[in-house]
């Protein structure tokens, strides 16, 4: 359904944006100032804008049952889509779920409200590895939801040679057997780290340097898919790929002998998807109550059960089964990995480069 809604959004966004522009000029009814907050009251509504396939319905139901706050859950499929809709301003969201580089951009543009730590005591459960991140070092604006990375998945029934890094995947002998994320920034970063550059060092010079290699790699790929890259692997249409860790974890659960997850030796980057409150939120208190709620160990465990990404909640991890914790795609060593930074207008150059090379085939 994601694509249908994407289509509809494309059709109606301009109109919505126009209406939104008009609305923005009016005084925004702010429910509270951050200092003199009244006691949280039950009832009201919470407009949540999150990733599709990322928030279990039972958590929303549990929260409503406990607080009486009705949750309206709207979904997006990429940070860019989320930003587009959020910035168009037609709907006021109380809670959004951006990844680190989107957070960085939003903080830079002052689009997020600082959190009130007094209302989120469970924040203490967050592991140290998820603090001190460049996009929000003191967790002033965000509460980490899940950690994720990108790694290599191999169908060991078909691929017998050892695979250690990106350069082992993108080899001529695997031509037409590879799935890659349909994400220009990702594939560009893989080439960059393979050639010894920093993945955030997106400059015209570096892009020119990686172009020949990138062109070779793109020619080898059979499927580009960001929405459900595991599908092509499960269907047997490809045998090897570079995909989201969560998708890999699901493949591993499916058949742990067949699908192997490998972190590329050249270096992987991690992503931290978090909850944040936009500047024009109407129910900041409800949003903070929700943040505190999902930080409870038993609630956080429910998320891990459904979506096996890396859980940042130390107390929740204690409740997981040894099997869950042993899933190499769910709990890769994220500690040393870097995150993506906002690259501003360079994103357009990256997109142009990849589009160009795809078209050149």
């Amino acid at each position: 359904m994601k694509r249908i809604s994407a289509l509809l959004i494309l059709m109606f966004l301009p109109l919505v944006a126009l209406l939104g522009c008009g609305k923005k000029e009016g005084p925004a009814p702010q429910s509270t100032g951050s200092g003199s907050a009244p006691e949280p009251k039950a009832g009201g509504e919470l407009n949540l804008f999150g990733w599709s396939e990322y928030i279990p319905q039972e958590i929303l139901d549990g929260f409503t049952k406990e607080t009486g706050i009705k949750v309206n859950y709207e979904t997006f499929a990429s940070n860019e889509e989320m930003l587009s809709k959020l910035l168009a301003g037609s709907t006021r969201y109380d809670l959004i779920q951006p990844s680190e580089y989107a957070i960085e951009a939003l903080v830079k543009q002052k689009k997020l409200q600082p959190l009130d730590p007094a209302r989120i005591p469970n924040l203490k459960n967050i592991a140290a590895a998820f603090r001190n991140q460049p996009h929000d070092p003191e967790l002033k604006y965000t509460v980490p939801w899940m950690g994720t990375t990108v790694g290599i998945v191999v169908n060991t029934e078909k691929v017998k040679e050892p695979v250690k890094g990106y350069k082992d995947v993108f080899q001529p002998k695997y031509k037409g057997r590879i799935v890659a994320l349909n994400d220009a920034r990702e594939i560009v970063s893989w080439v960059m780290v393979t050639m010894g550059m920093n993945a955030n060092d997106v400059t015209p010079e570096n892009l020119a340097k990686i172009k020949p290699t990138l062109a070779e790699w793109i020619k080898l790929v059979k499927v580009f898919d960001s929405d459900s890259p595991k599908t092509a692997l499960l269907n047997g249409d490809v045998d090897i790929g570079v995909i989201w860790s969560g998708e890999a974890a699901l493949l591993y659960q499916e058949n742990k002998n067949k699908f192997q997850f490998i972190l590329p030796t050249e270096g992987a980057h991690k992503a931290i998807d978090s909850l944040a409150i936009p500047e024009n939120a109407e129910n900041k208190i409800g949003a903070e109550m929700f943040m505190n709620y999902i930080l409870r160990p038993e609630v956080s465990k429910l998320i891990s059960d459904k979506f096996p990404y890396t859980n940042p909640n130390t107390e929740a991890r204690k409740l997981l089964t040894p099997e869950q914790l042993a899933n190499p795609a769910s709990y890769p060593p994220l500690a040393g990995m870097e995150t993506f930074h906002d690259i501003g207008k360079a994103a357009a150059d990256v997109d142009k480069l990849v589009t160009d090379l795809k078209a050149a085939q």
């Binding site: 994407a6 220009a184 249409d237 207008k345 589009t355």
Partner: protein, 292 residues
């Protein structure tokens, strides 16, 4: 000119201007057109001359840079290959759809309605579900390969998914009804006596088809070609799902500008250029039709 039987018949009915009541009846349509066609197009037109900021928001600053990019070799190449796919799809739809439309249009009324229903049944389910169904038929370990392997017609699975062939299959499947329905409309209106007259005057089935049936169903054929070619050119979901996003179509490029690349002005400029191109084609076709 003046024969014994010469009566000049009225060629055109009197032209009427809509009165107040006419405008009232038209109002919902005009409103709809304004809200969903004119206004969005106007917004896109404005956007296409704007700039984007760091975050991808549109900045209202007059600029032609987006249009300059449209004529970059990369995008022209993509436009050409999109046109190629759209053209192949249109031809296959025409060849496959015409006989179906003709058969339905010539069938008895009861049968005709039931057959029309069958053509439209796919619209009852979501387009995505149907596309996923095709994926499960065509995939490496899918129904088609399974059947062919079981019957020992092939020894290794056919590589169909994520190839241009899969894209064309998906496009043809999606747009075939849009070819059948307008042609059916023309065929149904076709006077049987005209076909009989052709036979009577010595035309065999092939001649009758090419000299009488095709020219008389031309409006339907043209409508079908437009209804298939234009949306096929802009399609992105099928290229993503069935083509593995490997061969970008112009629709994917535009979609990307509003999503991942966050460059609305460029997306708008691409869209406006396409719109201009379509309008040009359409006007040319219309003029030719009026001359012919």
């Amino acid at each position: 000119m003046n024969t014994a039987t010469g009566q000049v018949i009225e060629l055109q009915g009197p032209r009427r201007r809509p009165g107040v009541r006419g405008w009232l009846l038209l109002a919902p349509l005009l409103l709809w057109l304004f809200a969903f066609v004119v206004a969005p197009t106007a917004i896109m037109l404005v956007y296409s001359f704007c700039e984007r900021d760091e975050l991808g928001q549109v900045v209202f600053e007059l600029s032609l840079s987006s249009y300059a990019r449209v004529f970059d070799a990369t995008y022209l190449k993509i436009l050409l290959s999109s046109m190629k796919y759209a053209a192949i799809t249109t031809v296959i739809c025409l060849v496959a759809g015409y006989p179906v439309a003709y058969f339905i249009g010539r069938a008895r009324e009861g049968v005709r309605n039931r057959l029309l229903m069958l053509v439209m049944v796919p619209f009852w389910t979501s387009f995505l579900i149907r596309t996923y169904a095709w994926m499960s038929i065509l995939k490496s370990e899918g129904l088609l390969n399974g059947l062919l392997l079981y019957l020992q017609i092939i020894s290794a699975p056919l590589d169909i998914m994520y190839t241009p062939t899969a894209v064309v299959i998906g496009l043809v499947y999606s747009y075939l009804p849009f070819m059948i329905l307008p042609i059916y409309g023309s065929v149904e209106k076709l006077d049987n006596a005209l076909i009989e007259a052709a036979f009577d005057l010595g035309a065999g089935p092939v001649s009758a088809f090419s000299h009488v049936i095709v020219p008389l169903t031309r409006p339907g054929i043209l409508a079908g070609v437009l209804l298939v070619f234009i949306p096929a050119l802009g399609m992105f979901a099928i290229t993503d799902l069935m083509g593995g996003s490997r061969v970008p179509m112009i629709g994917n490029v535009i979609q990307n500008q509003f999503g991942q690349a966050r460059d609305w002005p460029f997306g708008a400029a691409l869209g406006m250029t396409l719109l201009l191109l379509f309008s040009l084609f359409f006007l040319l076709g219309l003029r030719k039709e009026q001359e012919g």
